[in-house]
């Protein structure tokens, strides 16, 4: 099959073009792993099916960010039959910079000139025919969004792929043209190097990867450097090359582009929106309000604060027992997230009950137990949280698509710098609230390796969707059982605790094991635009598929395993629910249990105490398992006390509390432990791939274990004996003092900025 690669700047409409080309019928798969985060799909409307590969968005083929290296290696090593370079017509100059680099590779290249409609709308004009002639490679006008010009583009690309192409460079007029040519001849002469022109240019730029690969030719460049003089740049070849490219672009393509005759200083719509959102005084408050609104719409059980104000009586609308009962709480209106949650939860509860009724008596007791408590109990406990996870994801997608997230990085950079990170790290962290896996992959946009490592390590502390059930179920149970606090507030403060842990640990890392300069912050701020409905739905669909697939594979499998090990003894005899304390699972749990004594869910609990340990351990497979395990085990424990119907979420935790005698501080410590400990399998595998360094990976695992243990202990001990807070404060003060003393003569991340250096 022919392979066409899509390459281009971030925000040039690459992914939209990819979706338009491959359509919904395409197989869209993400490869996890270091080498690739490229999507692949199939275009079928040409003579033969063509595989389309969507490469990460890049500005250049320099070796500085992992994304640039991925794209570069893909084109050089996998040798696609054609590279479709998508160029944002509204930003011609900077986009063509990448084109001039792609052209140097021996591969057919075609330019897809995107967003032409936008240029026309602003009164501009680009002469595509002239551009084609100047560049010497085919150019096709497209609108990726509307799907216009796609056929022409693909026909041209198909034609281009049939004729091999030799790289060409725009550096022919540069002062370095001779040197590049000499190096190219030397490389080609060795006979081992493909793409001699591309490598020659990169070698002349003293690109680190090339210098490593062709040490023997470095002398040649150094010799040339010794006799070379240039008024502006001295012998800085990297600068000369970059400058020559831009010189060439502005010299040759200003005639292609007729700029709109907009009055200077006139404000576009985007400018007006920007003025408000990044306002000197209002920028930060607006951000906080938006963030709060997102969480409120997803999780609140009191959307308009009617309940808190007591505006309507508790019995105003209850609709108890009807289909609509999930819409209203006691005297309050639920948020869309909670409404959807309730609908799904009650309908799945119905299915589960109906099935239990049908199976009762018809099949063996253990079979009913396995299906209803083991499989459905675990699965439904997890699936019912799907609406809230999707809603949260939808809000973040809207914020990202509109261009607001980039502004948030701009607003918050100053704060992030204090912790030794850049504003860019904001994006992966906030994505962590959805799921750690895409968040960790997103750290590829961070150029600095220390910053990447630190960010990957703290991403799990931004409590993901799968951890949400732990929070809501336990918080709800605390309120129900002990009658203290407010479930909303407990949930929010646990989120805040996660963020605080992230801040403290990043500070700690940057001052001890990961000293170094604050990474630079140089980022494009894309124009605001209304989010595309189709794009949002595609994002959601991807997420939904991923989640449901996970529920029916890994979570299903582990609930079945849990059920079996909790219903069989070491002698492999089937145990009824009431005898669960003699099971394999109980034996294993009791063995590890003492370790968790400082966190409040260890030896101090009575006979059933091991369930918390077991739940936490099953959480390592997938965090949804924690509550799923509670669901499965609570059904057994209650059977040991008094027979009751199947239990879900909050109820199962309440049962656990009565059975084990666990205290509130211990429950909070349990939440904190699960939030900050080693994330799920999938996230660990992603972290391993992204870190791509065994030592760092092991250190990261240790970091998660230690952090969760320490945080859990602090919460439990202070929560149980308030006066110990003085001891902890003293210990922290001592640690801070030692670190500061130790760092006195070292280079620390807090680079001082002095005016006009």
């Amino acid at each position: 099959m022919l392979k066409f690669a899509l390459a281009g700047n971030p925000n040039s409409g690459k992914t939209t073009l990819f979706n338009t080309l491959t359509g919904s019928t395409a197989h869209v798969g993400n490869w996890p792993g270091v080498t690739v985060d490229k999507k692949e799909g199939v275009y079928k409307k040409c003579g033969e099916p063509i595989s389309i590969i969507d490469l990460p968005g890049i500005y250049s083929l320099s070796p500085y960010t992992p994304e640039e290296i991925i794209s570069r290696n893909y084109i050089l090593d996998e040798k696609p039959d054609c590279v479709i370079n998508i160029v944002d017509a509204t930003n011609l100059e900077r986009n063509l910079y990448l084109t001039t680099q792609l052209m140097e590779i021996d591969v057919p290249v075609i330019v897809a000139l995107n967003m032409m409609d936008e240029v026309t709308r602003c009164g501009g004009k680009i002469d595509a025919a002239k551009l084609e002639k100047k560049l010497g490679i085919p150019v096709a006008e497209v609108s990726a969004l509307k799907g216009a010009g796609i056929k022409v583009l693909m026909d041209k690309a198909y034609a281009a792929s049939k004729t091999p192409r030799k790289g060409s460079t725009v550096l022919k007029d540069s002062a370095l043209a001779h040197l590049i040519n000499d190096v190219k001849i030397a490389l080609a002469g060795s006979g081992k190097v493909d793409n001699p022109l591309f490598h020659a240019v990169k070698l002349v730029e003293m690109d680190s990867l090339e210098v490593e690969a062709h040490k023997e030719l470095v002398q040649m460049i150094d010799d040339f450097k010794a006799i070379f003089t240039d008024n502006t740049f001295g012998a800085d070849f990297e600068a000369i090359v970059a400058d020559s490219r831009y010189q060439y672009i502005s010299k040759n393509f200003s005639c292609v582009l007729t700029k709109p005759t907009k009055a200077e200083g006139a404000l576009t719509k985007s400018d007006k929106v920007d003025r408000v959102l990044t306002h000197k005084w209002w920028g930060i408050p607006i951000f906080l309000v938006i963030l709060f609104a997102v969480f409120h719409l997803t999780f609140s059980e009191d959307l308009l604060y009617l309940g808190a104000m007591g505006a309507i009586p508790e019995t105003f609308v209850s609709l108890e027992g009807t289909f609509y009962e999930g819409m209203f709480g006691a005297g309050s209106i639920h948020s869309p997230g909670v409404i959807l949650f309730n609908f799904l939860d009650s309908s799945m509860g119905g299915v589960s009950e109906a099935l239990a009724g049908a199976m009762e008596g018809a099949v063996a007791d253990w079979a009913t137990g396995l299906v209803v408590d083991g499989v459905l109990g675990g699965l439904f406990a997890v699936l019912s949280f799907l609406p809230q996870i999707l809603l949260l994801f939808l809000f973040f997608s809207i914020l990202e698509d509109s261009g607001y997230m980039a502004r948030v990085a701009f607003i918050l950079d100053r704060i992030f710098r204090r912790f030794g990170l850049s504003g860019r790290a904001f994006m992966p962290m906030i994505m962590g609230f959805g799921c750690s896996i895409p968040a960790m992959i997103n750290t590829r946009t961070l150029a600095d390796s220390n910053e990447r490592t630190a960010t990957i390590r703290v991403i799990p502390f931004f409590s993901c969707g799968a951890k949400l059930p732990i929070l809501t179920a336990i918080a709800g149970a605390i309120v129900m059982n002990f009658g203290v606090g407010n479930a909303d507030i407990i949930t929010y403060s646990m989120y805040v605790l996660g963020i605080a842990t992230a801040i403290v640990t990043v500070l700690l890392m940057r001052n001890t094991t990961m000293r170094g300069e604050v990474p630079p912050f140089i980022m494009e701020l894309p124009a605001y635009h209304a989010p595309q409905f189709k794009n949002l739905m595609l994002h959601l669909w991807d997420k939904l598929k991923h989640f449901v697939k996970k529920a029916f594979t890994i979570i299903l499998a582990s609930t079945i395993v849990i059920w079996f090990v909790s219903h069989f003894s070491w002698g492999w005899n089937y145990l009824p629910d009431a005898a669960i304390n003699e099971s394999i699972l109980a034996g294993l749990g009791q063995f590890v249990q003492p370790l968790f004594t400082p966190l409040g869910f260890g030896s101090q609990l009575n006979a059933w105490g091991w369930v918390f340990v077991v739940a936490a351990v099953t959480g390592l497979i997938a965090k949804e398992n924690v509550i799923a395990t509670f669901g499965t085990l609570a059904a057994c424990i209650t059977a040991g006390f008094a027979a009751d119907e199947a239990l879900e979420g909050i109820d199962s935790v309440v049962q656990m509390i009565t059975a084990t005698g666990i205290t509130v501080p211990a429950l909070l410590a349990f939440i904190a432990f699960n939030m900050t400990t080693i994330p799920c399998f999938a996230a660990v595998a992603t972290a391993k791939a992204e870190l791509n360094d065994k030592k760092k990976y092991h250190a990261t695992l240790l970091f998660w274990i230690v952090t969760s243990y320490v945080v859990g202990t602090i919460i439990y001990v202070i929560g149980s004996w308030w006066w110990t807070s003085f001891l902890f404060a003293a210990a922290i003060a001592l640690a801070v003092f030692l670190i500061i003393r130790n760092n006195k003569h070292r280079k620390c991340p807090f680079r001082k900025y002095k005016k006009g250096v």
Binding site: S60, A239, D243, P520, F521, K755, G756
Partner: protein, 79 residues
Amino acid sequence: MLKSLDLFVPGEAGIIKAVSGEGKIRRRLFDMGVTPGAAVTLRKTAPLGDPIEVTIRGYELTLRKAEAAYITMEVRGNA
């Protein structure tokens, strides 16, 4: 008149004369189109005073004052 970009005030415009600084940062600046000869207008500073937002080669770029200090500008007046 020459001055570094970090000393610009919102609305001020100029032409880049030179870009100094350490390898990686400098390369990044080049790749983003911050090369001698390019016209730059300072749009605004962030709410906390840093980073800054500039218009260059027809798009918006944000960078910190610490990085902007590497960029020497020839002032061309207020827009």
